[in-house]
């Protein structure tokens, strides 16, 4: 395992998650209506609210996952340097 690959994978996760069009899914259904005053309109608005939260939570968790990967990569790199110093001896 190469630490820089791990750090790169982490950064890719963060970048992808921050680029998610968080409100697009919800925005697509909000305002949907079959009949004025019908039931579909309020149902669409409520679904949009639920989706906004769900997509935001998912993208936030991908950010956190990416940060954790990057931190792990850095920890491996530090450990590798320490190990190299040990092997090099005094």
């Amino acid at each position: 395992m190469r630490p820089e690959e791990l750090q790169g994978a982490g950064r890719a996760c963060v970048a992808a998650a921050l680029a998610v069009p968080v409100t697009a899914t919800a925005g697509a259904v909000r305002g949907t209506e079959v009949l004025p005053g019908g039931r579909a309109g309020p149902a669409a608005a409520a679904l949009a609210d639920r989706w906004e939260v769900a997509v935001a939570l998912w993208s936030a968790d991908v950010v956190a996952h990416g940060e954790a990967l990057a931190a792990a990569g850095e920890a491996y790199a530090t450990g590798d340097e320490d190990a190299a110093a040990v092997l090099a001896g005094p």
């Binding site: 395992m1 968080v22 697509a28 039931r39 309109g41 609210d49 935001a56 956190a64 990967l69 792990a72």
Partner: protein
């Protein structure tokens, strides 16, 4: 609000679905070539995120199908009332996928780009922001680039939780202590008790620092595994603001040095209150204890010694991210930002404002500095140094030339000064009194932070230590 027929909604949703699907591609497959326990944890988190992503897409697909059916039924002259009822039922049944637990281990060293974070946050619906704040306080509190008020609320929740956890842990350790007779185990449990009580004391210091009007807990990281109980701040990092960093015209960010930790936050905030008041209206100040400052017992450790760059190299990316986050959270109306480093904190600050580092810092002030490298980090007129009489650290030039002898760096006085109105500003002596209220030094730092350096009393602070260094060729 304009209304959309089912067919048009389906077309828009198909586009949104494609974007959401692309975002999930980053999670495809394991991280290459990684095995072991940590890889197992990461793979588990990755699998969970992939499953949630797949569930979201399946949810969207169900709604897409329902919208398509509704559009086709309306085109086929089906009764609109029946179509409305069927579509409403389908929409009511969607969007109930559980979010799952938050991932663990978010302790980034630099974190995501604060500008990207700020744009991401700005694009969220208020309900989504509220849900994130409620469900993911550890992430929201740690993200540089988010509004200060949001981070403050999230971090206060974290603080209360960390205190509760530590209190429970202390009780559990005490219970074990009274049931143990073995001397070896007693010693071990005694050390555990010392550690958890040290963490409790640090958390109490953070709580005391934010327990005043106008204070904000901008960052809080608690890592019990790093808590060695030996003083300083190991295990707890924090940044506390006085004033509104999102609205203030001027923001000063203070970074502390050798042997410091969050324990000293309440006292430091008192100094920063006085400094901000002296700087003038519209000034906020931050006590940034967001890195593990080197401690006395670490002097012999090559990675952690105050004589080496290890702690600064580790801390600088964190400070860069924090400083960049200040501006990112308020796009279009950035503050005048002054980075103030004391002692080893000036080494961290210098590393943070070096080329490629924090871009939004306008002025840099080094207090009692053992050196800031070969360049002061900001152009003449924006790089400042204060050296008090009797401060041996400021004459060491351990990390580059003595700052008070560098060209392009303006010296601010730490001597006693009688102002034209008769008021007397006191002298600062030694290494630890640069921001003591009522001193010339603190008043001078305030003029820089407040954006009126023309009011400062200049003095390069050359004293016996500097003359001695010159004699011996330092």
């Amino acid at each position: 609000m304009t209304t959309t027929p089912p067919g048009a909604a389906a077309a828009r949703l198909a586009v949104a679905r494609a974007a959401l699907a692309r975002a999930g591609e980053v999670l495809a497959g394991p991280v290459p070539g990684w095995r072991g326990a940590a890889a197992g944890v990461a793979t588990g988190a990755r699998t969970s995120l992939r499953e949630r992503h797949a569930a979201l897409l399946a949810d969207v697909d169900g709604v897409l199908a329902a919208l398509g059916t509704a559009a086709a039924a309306l085109a086929g002259s089906a009764p609109p009332e029946a179509v409305d009822a069927a579509l409403a039922a389908a929409l009511d049944g969607a969007g109930h996928t559980p979010a799952g637990p938050p991932p663990t281990g978010v302790t980034g060293t630099g974190g995501p780009d604060p500008g990207e974070v700020a744009r991401w946050w700005a694009g969220l619906d208020p309900d989504a922001r509220a849900a994130l704040e409620r469900e993911r306080p550890s992430l929201v509190g740690a993200l540089d680039g988010l509004p200060a008020a949001v981070r403050d609320r999230a971090n206060r929740v974290l603080l209360a939780g960390a205190q509760e956890d530590a209190r429970r842990e202390e009780q559990a350790v005490r219970d074990r202590l009274v049931r143990t007779a073995d001397p070896v185990e007693l010693a071990s449990i005694g050390w555990e008790l010392h550690e958890v009580r040290a963490r409790l004391a640090r958390l109490a210091a953070v709580a005391a620092a934010v327990d005043a009007p106008g204070r904000a807990l901008l960052d809080l990281e608690v890592d019990p595994r790093a808590d060695d109980g030996s003083g300083g701040g190991a295990g707890v990092r924090a940044a506390v603001a006085r004033g509104d960093v999102d609205a203030a015209a001027h923001v000063g960010v203070f970074t502390a040095g050798f042997t410091t930790g969050v324990d000293e936050l309440p006292g430091r905030l008192g100094e920063l209150d006085a400094l901000a008041a002296a700087a003038g209206p519209g000034t906020a100040a931050v006590a940034w204890y967001g890195y593990d400052a080197p401690q006395a017992h670490e002097v012999a450790d090559p990675d952690r010694s105050v004589l080496g760059r290890g702690p600064a190299d580790e801390g600088a990316p964190r400070l860069v991210s924090f400083l960049d986050g200040l501006d990112a959270a308020r796009p279009g109306h950035e503050a005048h930002v002054t980075a103030i480093g004391h002692s080893y904190g000036s080494v961290v600050t210098a590393a943070a404002v070096a080329p490629g580092g924090a871009e939004g810092v306008d002025d840099v002030v080094s207090l009692g500095s053992p050196g800031v490298g070969e360049a002061p980090g900001r152009p003449p007129g924006h790089a400042w140094v204060v050296e008090a009489a009797g401060d041996p650290v400021a004459d060491t030039a351990w990390f580059g030339p003595d700052p008070n002898r560098m060209s392009g760096v303006t010296g601010l006085s730490a001597r006693e000064v009688v102002l034209p109105d008769g008021r007397v500003l006191a002298e600062s002596r030694g290494h630890g009194a640069y921001l003591t209220p009522g001193t010339t030094s603190a008043a001078n730092v305030a003029t820089v932070v407040g954006g009126r350096p023309q009011d400062a009393v200049l003095d390069r602070g050359v004293d016996a230590g500097d003359r001695l260094r010159r004699l011996v060729g330092g």
